[in-house]
């Protein structure tokens, strides 16, 4: 019995303290070091924030470079396919131009009507001041089972602050949750930690909660409210951060919201700085 206990303690100690050969550090010393780094980061000692920001900026840039081959091959195959389909593409584009020409008049009428309605609702026109919109490139889009986020190449240097809304083609994508000098992290709408006040077509208010899957869900709907297919969901702006009326997605038969923008296919996004300018954050 005592021999087996000795064996256990020898193996245990050896696993923790063993060094030599390729192992320059013992597991125990590295565990202590990791714990110190962890608690310094969590409790935010004065010097850790700039150090973490600098680390983030450097690592995100390296990640962007390291991921170049994984982006190159799908893009190259896409380009090659489109090269061979150029004739069909040309015909399709011609037909689309004709269609858009006929829609042009309608668009002018609808945009005037939209502006008038927004005046009545006392909301700001989303693109009123284009200088408040910053275009950013998606640096890293690493798919994690636990955190749905992307890294963009604009940070505090451009005036980005935590909480600012991020859009793509005027559709809401998420909000800024971490800022560094040259980069920021965007929490996507489908992340489990994302909560956004929204309004539905018929005027019902709800909270759009990320489910960790592709489609977020609606919570805190009015009692007896039945979700039907194809109801548009917009940001209500009640939090003072998201512009009211920013389109988000459409409900489906499962009661989820299918986002207008696929969060896995983002290359460029826009950040609305007007929230900062309006002093809302």
């Amino acid at each position: 019995m005592s021999v087996s206990r000795d064996d256990f303690s020898i193996a245990f100690r050896s696993a923790l303290l063993q060094r030599g050969g390729a192992q320059k550090f013992s597991v125990l010393s590295l565990i202590f070091l990791a714990l110190i780094i962890f608690f310094l980061d969590v409790y935010g000692a004065k010097f850790t924030k700039p150090v973490r920001g600098f680390l983030n900026d450097v690592v995100y840039r390296i990640t962007f470079l390291a991921s170049a081959p994984t982006r190159f091959f799908p893009q190259a195959s896409k380009d090659l396919t489109s090269y061979f389909n150029v004739k069909t593409e040309n015909e399709r584009l011609k037909a689309e131009i004709e269609k858009y020409k006929s829609l042009e008049l309608n668009v002018e009428f609808l945009s005037d009507e939209n502006k008038n309605l927004q005046k009545i609702l006392e909301t700001e026109y989303f693109n009123k001041n284009l200088s408040n919109i910053v275009l950013a490139k998606v640096l890293v889009d690493k798919n994690s089972p636990f955190l749905k986020s992307i890294i963009i190449n604009k940070g505090t240097r451009t005036g980005i602050l935590k909480g600012m809304p991020v859009t793509h083609n005027n559709y809401l994508v998420g909000r800024i949750v971490e800022t560094n000098y040259l980069s920021s992290r965007v929490l996507l709408l489908n992340d489990l930690n994302s909560r956004i006040p929204v309004t539905l077509d018929q005027g019902a208010q709800a909270i759009l909660s990320g489910s960790g899957k592709n489609n977020p869900i609606l919570e805190y709907l009015p009692e007896d409210y039945k979700i039907i297919d194809e109801i548009n969901v917009f940001a209500s702006g009640k939090d003072g951060i998201f512009s009211p009326g920013t389109p988000i997605g459409m409900t489906n038969l499962d009661g989820e919201v299918e986002l207008f923008v696929d969060p896995n296919q983002l290359s460029f996004v826009t950040v609305n700085l007007s929230v900062q300018n309006a002093g809302k954050l």
Binding site: L30, L33, A34, I37, D41, V42, V59, K142, F146, L147
Partner: protein
């Protein structure tokens, strides 16, 4: 293969380079797009196998650094992945010290132990010291598929070891 040849050194560095690349690049083993619940933690399979079979090519310092890089890229508090990887190293080293001959079945079982300890620490720290929320079902699926895929990668890594690096020195 001659121990000092360039190819031997490259093959020897293969696992650690793969670990760094998985941590720093966009490449992930989260295949939710293919099958909604299919996610696996490839890094811990890689670390456990090589710590168990050839610890001299998986230096602790490198694994610690890879963990820090993983935290930065994934947006976790710094040091949490390193801690989780170090637990894997600890269990792997303990098993290696205690056992003479291992089989795929014994490695699979001890890997389950290592994964449980590592994930327990990882998610308890994340739950208690950060604002991040996570789904327990996702953790369950992730652990299940990581465990399920272990023998497949065990065989692949074994082939790599036998054909390119050679068996362990006596």
């Amino acid at each position: 293969m001659a121990k000092h040849s360039l190819f031997y050194k490259i093959y020897n560095a293969g696992p650690i380079l793969l670990l760094y690349y998985l941590c720093i690049s966009e490449v992930d083993t989260n295949l939710e797009k293919v099958f909604e619940i299919f996610t696996l933690n490839f890094q811990i399979i890689l670390i456990y196998f090589w710590v168990l079979k050839r610890p001299e090519i998986m230096a602790n310092g490198h694994i610690f650094l890879a963990g820090l890089i993983n935290d930065v890229v994934m947006g976790y508090p710094l040091g949490i992945s390193s801690l989780s990887y170090l637990i894997i190293i600890f269990v792997g080293t303990y098993v290696r010290n205690k056992s003479v001959n291992t089989t795929i079945a014994s490695d699979w079982f001890t890997f389950l132990m290592a994964m449980i300890f590592s994930n327990l620490l990882f998610f308890s720290l994340l739950n208690n010291f950060s604002d991040l929320e996570f789904s327990y079902s996702k953790i369950g699926y992730n652990m299940f598929f990581t465990l399920f895929m272990f023998p497949i990668f065990w065989l692949l890594f074994n082939i790599y070891q036998m054909s390119l690096i050679g068996s362990r020195d006596a």
